[in-house]
């Protein structure tokens, strides 16, 4: 559950490797086929039985924690009622692990409500459809929110302190807080479901996101294109930030595209502006929007590529046609000086990290502007203004 440091005189490079290994181990554990209660099914291995939910799909969606009026969320393990707009869908017949994808921007509420100076926006896939996103928490994090009544503004007001979510600790065998952020595209058209980890999702258009959006809800098959893991560990109070992507997502800036087709890039398009959000108004119900022309600004390092190859080999050894061979680690951001008294971000390495599906428009190397998991989330507060321990979720309380 914690990072294993190899070697007696670690270097920046060797530690990056150790954290990247931790990321891959986490990815495998979280995407392991699950039992009905969300625990890993140790009778099978990752990549087998691709139609059953994986471990993280039993985590709680943020929408089911921060309820209207600050209502108390249903306890862990209990199904949440469907959004009202999805009432026409018979909940008793939803496939196992069905998700409720409501967001068309990574953190639309937070960014909209606090006027963050980020140029963000929806990500449009090659079928002209809006990508969808979800944020989920594990039981440890969920319990902390429930115990301290942080799911409501009133509860946060009464709490009136800095949040301090539980950390994973190997010595105590405690599993700490984990957040999962995922990005999805609808299957069909230019997307072959055989190349993606797929699930069924209630995709609904949320009128509170943008003016002019009419509520609607459709059950659709979606494929995973982006996967963030944020994990708070005993020695990394700034959390460890791992990010994975589908291998076909985008080419890298300055490098010749090598694939015949990408998930978010069209080599034939000569007038497409790279990493530019679509013009407003943004409405996910639009039948077709010009696809985003996305490229990766910071290349995946050769060391990470080497590690990806090693893990792909291991995954293929377990299941030769494993769908997880289509996913790769971009990098892991971790604090190099976690105990710094003068820098609450802990001097993260690498300094910048972005997932092209989740931070498409804020990639780069400019401080306070380009994507850095730790630097951005260090600014997070609850609705009372108290630091919220590197998560913006608490701002969703009503």
């Amino acid at each position: 559950m914690e990072i294993t440091v190899t070697g007696s005189n670690p270097t920046l490079a060797s530690l990056q490797h150790d954290f990247d290994v931790f990321s891959w181990q986490s990815f495998i554990a979280l995407n392991w086929p699950a039992n009905a209660d969300g625990t890993p099914n140790t009778g099978i291995t990752i990549g087998q039985s691709p139609n059953i939910p994986v471990v993280w799909q039993s985590y709680r969606e943020s929408r089911t924690i921060f309820l209207p009026g600050g209502a108390t969320p249903p306890p862990w393990g209990q199904d949440s009622p469907l959004p009202p707009v999805c009432k026409n869908i018979d909940a008793s017949h939803l496939p196992p692990g069905t998700m409720r994808l409501t967001q068309v921007g990574k953190t639309p509420n937070v960014l909209d409500e606090s006027a963050e100076p980020f140029k963000t926006g929806p990500l449009i896939d090659q079928n002209g459809q809006y990508a969808r996103f979800s944020i989920m928490t594990n039981e440890s994090m969920f319990n902390y929110i429930i115990t301290n009544k942080l799911y409501s503004k009133d509860g946060q007001k009464a709490f009136n302190a800095d949040a301090d979510f539980p950390s994973s600790n190997t010595s105590t065998q405690q599993l700490g807080s984990i957040m999962i952020k995922t990005a999805w595209v609808k299957m069909g058209g230019k997307y072959d479901p055989a190349k993606f980890y797929t699930t069924y999702a209630l995709v609904y258009n949320n009128p509170s996101e943008e003016a002019g959006i009419k509520p609607s809800c459709v059950l659709q098959q979606v494929g995973l294109v982006g996967f963030h893991i944020a994990h708070k560990t005993a020695d990394e109070p700034q959390w460890v930030w791992s990010t994975f992507e589908h291998v076909d997502n985008v080419p890298t800036v300055g490098q010749k595209p090598t694939l015949s087709a990408y998930n978010f890039f069209n080599a034939q398009c000569k007038d497409c502006k790279v990493n530019e959000p679509p013009p407003r108004p943004w409405n996910p119900a639009t039948p077709f929007t010009k696809p985003t022309q996305a490229e990766r600004v910071i290349a995946i390092t050769p060391e990470a590529q080497q590690l990806n190859a090693a893990y792909h080999q291991a995954l293929a050894a377990a299941v030769p046609d494993s769908v997880w061979l289509n996913y790769e680690l971009v990098s892991t951001q971790w604090p190099t000086n976690a105990k710094s008294k003068t820098d609450p971000t802990g001097a993260p390495a690498p300094s910048f990290l972005a997932n092209t599906t989740l931070e498409t428009y804020i990639q780069g190397h400019v401080k306070q502007t380009s994507s850095s998991c730790t630097a951005c989330h260090n600014n997070a507060t609850s609705t009372t203004g108290n630091p919220s321990d590197f998560t913006y979720l608490l701002q969703r309380a009503q």
Partner: protein, 164 residues
């Protein structure tokens, strides 16, 4: 024998008053020292007309350090006028570079204007790594790692910033 980088970092710590663990930590994701040493070497060679001067400065520091002198004694010896004006000026420019994240250029007096110094920021990282922010117990303009509401609390002691 220490490497040029070891001597450069050691000398920089002595002259700035910061601990090596602050200006050049063992695990160093920014690694500004690797920008500063070649830049210092190149600038000093060009400005002094003596390509060997940086080597002479680092060698003197190495010698003094090996004698077990205190940082104060080493600093005093390095800035001794007896080392020669170019030597001392280079050491002073080293201090300026670390504190300002910029390189100072001295413009001699002319018939109409007095001597002046202009400085050029070396890079984005040098700007945010400038030690001046640390001794102010503050943060660079436009780049703060402090959390919301930090201004309502006193800063941590200066010694936490300098490491000494």
């Amino acid at each position: 024998m220490n490497s040029d980088m070891d001597n450069f970092v050691g000398l920089s710590a002595v002259l700035t008053g910061f601990n090596q663990s602050i200006i050049a930590p063992d695990i160093d994701p920014v690694d500004i020292k690797s920008v500063y040493l070649p830049l210092f070497t190149q600038k000093i060679a060009k400005e002094s007309g003596n390509p060997a001067l940086t080597g002479q400065i680092l060698q003197k520091y190495s010698t003094l350090s090996a004698q077990g002198l205190t940082p104060q004694q080493i600093g005093t010896a390095m800035l001794d006028p007896g080392n020669g004006a170019p030597f001392v000026l280079a050491c002073r420019k080293l201090i300026f570079m670390w504190y300002a994240g910029a390189w100072p250029t001295i413009i001699p007096a002319s018939g109409t204007s007095p001597a002046s110094t202009v400085s050029d920021i070396i890079s984005e990282d040098s700007y945010t790594s400038s030690l001046v922010w640390q001794v102010m117990q503050s943060h660079p303009m436009g780049d703060s790692n402090y959390r919301y509401g930090y201004w309502a609390k006193p800063p941590v002691p200066l010694s936490d910033y300098t490491g000494n």
